[in-house]
């Protein structure tokens, strides 16, 4: 029952994409319903799978013929987590973008690729072996490129070029790594089965492989210094920035690294590679540098982009500590950061559409015009800092525990310091927005405002709910931890 459902979830959205593409320009309502419906259906399917209980299952691959390069889907807690995040947020984002794109052109192109990327993301989540993963990962780049350059113009083109260059280079590294792995394991690429087959590989080979994967996925996970594309890609329309650069694409990179560490190599192998300090160092550096650079950004979305960079490094940090608690923190942070960051992007988008302001320095008094938007922005930025009672606290709390339990003391300082830095670059935004009077003469709110506002508020509320009942997420997360650590 599950495999067909997964196929529906993955390719149903693709079908929706085609539908959206063939819908004539003027039938906006129809297209909107298609977009919303398709993402809703896939989300429902994912939730149904979740409801089925968190078993790991891998489905009969259908033969691609290329020696043991099979097309294989699998269902495991880790993948399911990513799927749940992506598909759920996609529903909200579809509502939001219906509102946001109301005035924009090229809707067919936008929405078809929007849905296509949704399906591909689910494909990444459910892929059962490295080859399938690589396939969808590669496709994601091409499916999201049109969204990045959607706004047109020279800088969009430049950003798109940057994005695709970075991604393709990363992907090609991954391809090389996969081929080497194939050689080493004698053709075994299924997640979970690889590490057993790596027995006769030399340490040097393993480390080389690991770093090939790390750099390859690190591009999308925006590890410094591979992050260049992310701030540039902020020229995209806001729903795109929100989804792709807070939820789908960057998380795909992070998810890839999680897969590499836990499903490909396995905890013990990585443990024995003795490279943890290097990895942790890189992550710590990314966290701090990202925050410090974010401090200097005046363009709101760029600031958010840099905060994303540093927040993603938290997740990787948790992954590399190789401790159950830290992994729990990492997975929680993957969930919470997505749900929080998307709200920030949404609010920024609303501000941009309603007032036309893009810079932090212009926001003075805007809070009076858009109280709900800026209110949720402020609330959620508290969450990003890691203050109770918002969800952001809990992930950092487990990250801290994990890294301390694994004797990575320095991380305590890093995490606390970066929390403070987050406060430095997030809070002034809200405070300026609510203090003083804006010189903006009041104009009527655009008709589609509520389409954008409702998802924003709902997700903000979600952040609060998770903060007060972090237990809601724990069955899933504990399942992931139990999957990789024999506790």
């Amino acid at each position: 029952m599950s495999l067909p459902l997964i196929l529906v979830a993955v390719f149903g959205t693709a079908f929706g994409a085609v539908w959206a593409a063939v819908t004539p320009d003027e039938d906006r309502t129809e297209r909107n319903f298609v977009v919303f419906g398709a993402s809703l259906v896939s989300a429902l399917i994912v939730w149904w799978l979740l409801g089925q209980g968190l078993y790991s299952a891998s489905f009969p691959a259908f033969e691609l013929g290329v020696a043991s390069l099979n097309f294989k889907f699998a269902l495991d807690p880790l993948g399911l987590t990513y799927a749940v995040i992506a598909s759920t947020l996609w529903v909200f984002a579809s509502v939001y973008s219906v509102g946001y794109m109301d005035q924009e052109g090229k809707q067919r192109q936008f929405f078809s690729f929007f849905l296509l990327s949704a399906g591909i993301t689910l494909g990444i989540a459910f892929s059962g072996n490295l080859f399938t993963f690589y396939l969808f990962y590669e496709l994601l780049t091409f499916a999201t490129y049109p969204l990045v350059v959607h706004s047109g113009g020279e800088d969009a083109a430049k950003a798109g070029r940057k994005y695709i260059t970075y991604s393709l280079v990363g992907a090609s590294l991954i391809l090389a790594a996969i081929v080497m792995l194939w050689r080493l394991t004698g053709g075994i690429l299924d997640f979970g089965a690889i590490s057993a087959a790596l027995g006769n590989a030399s340490a040097g080979q393993l480390v080389t492989l690991f770093f090939l994967f790390f750099i390859g996925f690190g591009v999308k996970a925006a590890i410094m210094p591979l992050h260049g594309w992310l701030p540039a890609a902020m020229v995209a329309p806001t729903p795109v920035s929100a989804l792709l650069h807070a939820v789908a694409v960057v998380n795909a990179g992070v998810f890839g690294i999680l897969r590499t560490v836990y499903s490909v190599f396995g905890v013990d192998v990585v443990q024995n590679m003795k490279i943890r300090p290097v990895l942790l160092g890189i992550c710590a550096l990314t966290i701090l540098m990202g925050s410090l650079i974010a401090l200097k950004q005046d363009v709101l979305k760029r600031r958010l982009a840099y905060s994303t960079i540093s927040q993603l490094a938290y997740i990787l940090l948790g992954a590399f500590v190789l401790h159950p608690l830290a992994l729990k923190g990492a997975i929680l942070h993957m969930i919470f950061h997505s749900t929080l960051k998307i709200v920030l992007f949404f609010s920024a988008g609303i501000v941009a559409t309603e007032t036309g302001y893009l810079n932090v320095s212009e926001l003075r008094g805007v809070g009076r015009i858009l109280p709900l938007t800026l209110g949720s922005f402020g609330l959620i930025s508290l969450g990003m800092i890691g203050m109770l009672p918002l969800s952001g606290f809990w992930s950092k709390y487990f990250l801290l525990q994990g890294s301390l339990a694994a004797d990575a003391w320095i991380l305590l300082a890093v995490l606390l310091l970066s929390g403070l830095l987050n406060a430095f670059y997030f809070l002034p935004i809200t405070i300026t927005a609510f203090s003083g009077e804006s010189d903006l003469q009041p104009r009527k709110k655009s008709s589609s405002l509520w389409f954008m506002l409702v998802p924003t508020l709902a997700l903000a509320a979600l952040g609060l709910v998770f903060g007060l009942w972090p237990g809601l997420a724990s069955p899933l997360v504990d399942a992931v931890v139990a999957q990789f650590f024999s506790l």
């Binding site: 396939l135 091409f142 350059v149 090609s172 090389a176 050689r183």
Partner: protein, 501 residues
């Protein structure tokens, strides 16, 4: 299929194509010329089905030889039908038919008159026949004859549209090709002097016992072959004729040359080196190193030259140079994976490059724009064409589920088996460069706005042709098991290994 046909099938294919070719001029008088064209396509279809049948035979019952007219070697002409020939026959059928179908729409307008069109068809079928001959031939005599026929025919179809540029390109092509065939002939002469035979198997037996006595002479002969076939198949430093010829010829010709003609000579080269001379001699002589070297050089340089082009067809021509580099790299690797990769790339690049050229031709025909920089927004006027162009580009870059990936994968494996990491880097970088010179086309076509909305999509026949090729690419990419098995077996036959079906 009746026995008499099935066992004579190999020669029947060639004969059928030849005779069909010679019938064409007679058909130029009939009322609707399309009939003639469709007849030609139909014959090609027959050839394809025959090729498939042979391939299945070979795959299941192993290779067999066929003595033409019952005269067995060394007196008679011997055809050696093995998986190499099967694979290449399939490639020919899969690619030649859609190209001709595409051409059939406005061939007359392209070449000027019905009569010329009819002769064009003749030449086209001759070329195909010669290539199929190369696929099935078993001795050097035929190799020479077929190579010559192919050369003249391909020169002729380049000159089909008679304007200054194409004629000049043709002349250059002809000169170089003739020098090349002179070298090939000399190479044949050397082998003959050394062994007193022209049949590949006999040559193989002779050499395997006695080649240490005169390695230098053998080497000189092999160098003659390499240069001769290198010129004809546009191995990098010898590719000089290709860009002019391919960019100035009419679209079907360019597609044909890039996707098939070039490969035909490579098949011949493979036969000479691996069947006639034999793998162990090849691996003992520095040939493989040289081929690897030239292959890598070709991959990089071809791509760099392609980047420099603004004219779409010329860019594609240079990309052919680069892709031929992949094929030679595979030959140079000389292990089972490498050669499998070579064969897979022969078929995948055949389909892909044909598709790209046809799409480019469609764009040029509808918009009259030859430069990429002028093609802003074409994607919205001609979605299908640009869509299949995208398919071709992705396959060329080597994205999974497209045929290009399969061959790249095998090549990567091959270079890893040889611990040749430079080759790995070059392969990966090559596909990045391919992305660099193909994706801008799509970007310009889809993500830049154009003013005029007047352009229309090409007629559906041409769409069908292109879509067919796209489907081939995707099917080979997604379910390659049959072709891949064939390619593996072909590589096995060349290396003298037994590959289980």
């Amino acid at each position: 299929m009746p026995v008499v046909i099935s066992e004579n099938l190999a020669v029947l294919i060639v004969v059928a194509l030849l005779s069909a070719g010679y019938v064409m001029p007679l058909l130029k008088k009939i009322k609707r010329f399309r009939v003639a064209e469709f007849f030609a396509v139909f014959v090609l279809g027959l050839a394809l089905s025959g090729g498939l049948y042979l391939a299945r035979e070979v795959l299941h019952n192993g290779a067999f030889t066929y003595a033409v007219g019952g005269w067995s070697a060394p007196w008679g002409i011997e055809l050696a039908v093995d998986s190499v020939s099967g694979l290449f026959l399939i490639t020919i059928g899969l690619v030649a038919a859609p190209i001709l179908l595409w051409a059939s729409v406005d061939l007359v307008r392209e070449v000027g008159s019905r009569a010329r069109a009819a002769w064009y068809l003749t030449l086209y079928l001759l070329l195909v026949a010669a290539l199929s001959g190369l696929a099935v031939t078993g001795d050097l005599f035929n190799v020479y004859v077929m190579v010559e026929v192919a050369t003249i025919a391909s020169c002729a179809i380049v000159a089909a549209r008679s304007n200054a540029v194409s004629v000049e390109a043709t002349f250059k092509y002809l000169m170089l090709a003739t020098i090349g065939s002179g070298f090939v002939l000399l190479g044949i002469g050397f082998l003959f002097v050394l062994t007193g035979n022209l049949n590949m198997n006999f040559i193989f037996q002779e050499l395997s016992t006695s080649w240490q006595n005169y390695p230098t002479a053998l080497w000189v002969g092999l160098s003659f072959f390499m240069v001769g076939f290198g010129v004809k198949s546009a191995l990098f430093p010898l590719h000089v004729w290709l860009p002019d010829a391919h960019s100035s010829a009419i679209t079907p010709s360019s597609a044909m040359l890039s996707s098939l003609a070039v490969k035909g000579y490579i098949i011949a080269l493979l036969k000479v080196f691996y069947i006639a001379v034999g793998p162990e001699i090849i691996t003992n002589l520095p040939i493989t190193d040289i081929m690897t070297l030239l292959g890598m050089l070709a991959i990089v340089a071809g791509a760099l030259f392609a980047l420099a082009q603004d004219e779409l067809k010329r860019r594609l021509a240079f990309s052919t140079v680069s892709q031929v580099g992949y094929i030679f790299l595979g030959i140079g690797l000389g292990n089972i994976h490498g050669l499998t990769g070579t064969f897979m790339h022969i078929i995948s690049h055949g389909a892909t490059k044909a598709l790209l050229f046809l799409a480019a031709g469609a764009i040029i025909k509808q918009t009259g724009k030859t430069r990429i920089s002028e093609m802003a927004g074409v994607g919205f006027e001609m979605p299908v064409t640009l869509g299949v162009f995208a398919v071709g580009s992705l396959s060329m870059i080597g994205i999974p589920l497209f045929s290009g990936f399969v061959s790249k994968w095998q090549l990567l494996l091959g270079s890893l088996v040889n611990r040749n990491f430079l080759a790995v880097i070059v392969l990966v970088g090559g596909s990045l460069l391919a992305a660099a010179y193909l994706l801008p086309v799509l970007r310009t076509a889809f993500f830049e706005r154009s003013q005029d909305r007047t352009v229309k999509e090409v007629p559906y026949v041409q769409l069908v042709a292109m879509l067919f090729l796209a489907v081939v690419i995707i099917m080979v990419g997604t379910f390659p098991s049959f072709v891949l098995q064939l390619a593996k077996q072909a590589a096995g036959t060349l290396l003298g290994l037994e590959v289980l079906p």
